[in-house]
Assembly symmetry: C2
C-alpha cells in the first residue's frame, strides 16, 4: 500500500483537475477558490489510507474522499462567516472576496454536492456510508453551535468540552476513516474500529492543541503562545483549573479572567496556575488516554484484516508533533 | 384515498408532534419556530398525495415528507438572510429573532436533517429517492443564485428565466411528487411522470404569479399590484416585452425602466405596453402550455396505475386561483 505522502499527492492531483460546476459562476467559482487554497487534505487522505489498509486501491475511494473534502470546506466557509474571519491561509475568505450571500449559498451547494459525491459508492455499502456521513453532518453543526455557546458560559463541564471538540473536529476524522474502510472492504468491526481510531486520535490531537497554545515553543508553533488564555477560551486546562483550584490559586485565576490590559503577565500567571493546580498534567493524561484508545482501535482493525502500518505512522507523527 | 385537506391535516398533526432535537437549544429551537409558522405544507402534502395515488397509505411516506418540509424550510431561512427579510408570515425571521450565526447554522443543520429523514425509505428505492433529492438540493441553490444574478442583468433570456423559476421552485414540487410516488410503489414511468407533473404545474404556477402581480385584482391578491414592474423584475412579461417591443413602445419601456418617482404612472404605462406588445397573451399561452404538459404527465401516471383524481383536483385549483 502507498504511504500518506503518496496518497496526498494522488488526492491533490485529483482535486486540482476536478470541475465541480461552471454555472452559475457565483455559485461554483467559490468551490474552486477555497478548494485550491491548499492544506494537508488530512480527511480525504485518511479515507484513502483506510481504503488501502483494507487492501483496496485508493482510487476506489476517490469520489467519497472528494465528498469528505467538500463537507469540510462547506464548514470552513460558513464558520468563517460566523467568526467574521477576513482571511484563510493568508487569502480572503469567500464571504470577503464575494459577499455574504455568495458565502452562504456556495456553502449550501457544497454541502449538497458533498452528499452527491459520497453516494458514489457500491450499493452494497451505500446505506451504511450514508448513515455515517449524514450523522456526521449534524454533529458538526451541533459542535459549532456548542463552541459558540461556550463563549458566553463559565460553567462548561469537561464532558461538554470533550463532546464539543469531538463533534466539531474528531467525528469527521472518524467518518473519513470508517467510510474509507467500508469502501476498502472492512467488516463491521473493522469499519467501527476505524471510526474509533479517528475519533480518539482527533480528540487527543485537540487536547494537544490546547497544550501547545499555552506551552508550545512560539518559534515552532508559528504564533505567540497564550492566545487561548488571553481570550479566556474554555480549554481543557481552564475547565480543569476552574474546577480544582482552591484558595489563593482560585482567587488569582478568577481575577486574571477579568483582566485584559496586561497580556504578557496574564499568560505567565495563568500558565503557572495551570501548573500548580495540576491542570497541565491532567490534560497530558487525557491526551495520552485518548491516544492509547486510538491505538487500541487500530489493533482491532489489524485483527480484522487491515494493514495498519501507515495509519500507525500517521498517529505517531500527530502525537509527537510540537507545532 | 384521502383528499388534499385530509392529508394536510395528517401532516400538520404529525409535524406539530415532532421533536427534531433538544440540544444545543440555539440550533434546534429555530427548527420548531419556523416549522410552526404555518403554511399550506404543499410540498410534503403532495408527496403524501402521490403515495396514496399509487395505492399506499400516506403514513408510509411521512418521514420523507418531513425531509421535504425540512429542505424547504432550510431554503427559507437562508433566503431570508440573503434577502435581508425581517418578517416571514408576519413573524420575525430566524436571523432577526436570534442572529446571523444561528440563521446560518440552524439552516445547515436543517439541510443535514432533511437528508436523514429522506433516507428513512425502503432499501429497494433508497438510491433512487436519494438521487432525486440530492439533485434537487443543488438545483435549488443554483436557482437562488440565478435569481440574485438576474437582478443585475438586463439580458436575461426566456430560457434562462424558465430554468431559474424551475430550479428555484418547480423542481422541489416535482421531487416531492416523485418521491411520494416511489414510496407508493410507482413503476419507473409512473415516478418520472409524477415528477413531470410537479415540474410543469409549478412552472405554470410561477408564470401565473407574474401575471397576477401585474394584472390581478388587488383585493384578491391581497397586495397592491405592480410590485414586479416597480422593481424592474425580470418576469416573463418584461423579458418578452424587451425582446419584442419596437419603435415607440421600446423607447417608452426603456424610459420607464429608469423611472422611479412616478409609481402609479409607471405601473399603468408598463401594463399597457405589455398588452400592446402581446406579452400578456404570450405569458398566458406559456402558462397554459405548461399546464397542459402537467395534465398529460398525469394521464401517463394514470396509465401506470395511479388514481389521479385528487392530483387533478389540486392542479385545477392552482390553475384557476385568482390570488
Amino acid at each position: 500500500m502507498r504511504d500518506l505522502t503518496q496518497l496526498q499527492e494522488l488526492f491533490i492531483k485529483a482535486i486540482s483537475e476536478k470541475n465541480f460546476g461552471e454555472e452559475p459562476k457565483n455559485l461554483y467559482e467559490p468551490f474552486h477558490y477555497i478548494l485550491n487554497l491548499g492544506g494537508k487534505r488530512l480527511r480525504p487522505v485518511l479515507a484513502l489510507l483506510a481504503c488501502e489498509s483494507f487492501g483496496t486501491k485508493a482510487e476506489e475511494a476517490m469520489d467519497a474522499a472528494m465528498g469528505i473534502e467538500l463537507l469540510h470546506n462547506f464548514s470552513l466557509i460558513h464558520d468563517d462567516i460566523m467568526d467574521n474571519a477576513p482571511l484563510r491561509r493568508g487569502r480572503q475568505t469567500v464571504h470577503e472576496k464575494w459577499n455574504l450571500s455568495v458565502g452562504i449559498l456556495s456553502g449550501d451547494a457544497m454541502l449538497g454536492a458533498s452528499f452527491r459525491y459520497i453516494s458514489m459508492v457500491d450499493d452494497r455499502i451505500f446505506r451504511k456510508v450514508f448513515d455515517v456521513f449524514s450523522r456526521t453532518v449534524l454533529e458538526i453543526c451541533e459542535g459549532q453551535q456548542w463552541d459558540m455557546d461556550f463563549e458566553l458560559r463559565m460553567d462548561v463541564t469537561e464532558a461538554e468540552y470533550i463532546r464539543m471538540i469531538q463533534y466539531k473536529t474528531s467525528v469527521l476524522l472518524g467518518a473519513s476513516l470508517e467510510i474509507g474502510a467500508l469502501i476498502g472492504g472492512a467488516d463491521e468491526v473493522g469499519a467501527e474500529q476505524s471510526y474509533q481510531f479517528g475519533l480518539n486520535l482527533g480528540t487527543s490531537f485537540q487536547i494537544k492543541d490546547d497544550l501547545l497554545d499555552a506551552f508550545g515553543d512560539p518559534e515552532k508553533v508559528g504564533k505567540q503562545v497564550g492566545g487561548d488564555i488571553l481570550s479566556n477560551k474554555k480549554t481543557i486546562l481552564l475547565i480543569h483549573a476552574l474546577r480544582h483550584a482552591t484558595g489563593e490559586d482560585r482567587d488569582e485565576l478568577l481575577a486574571w479572567l477579568k483582566e485584559d490590559h496586561l497580556p504578557a503577565e496574564k499568560v505567565k500567571a495563568v500558565m503557572e496556575i495551570y501548573q500548580r493546580v495540576g491542570s497541565v498534567r491532567y490534560a497530558e493524561e487525557r491526551m495520552e488516554s485518548y491516544y492509547r484508545k486510538a491505538l487500541n482501535a487500530l489493533d482491532e482493525c489489524s485483527q480484522h484484516g487491515a494493514n495498519i502500518t501507515e495509519l500507525k505512522n500517521f498517529a505517531e507523527y500527530l502525537y509527537h508533533r510540537d507545532h
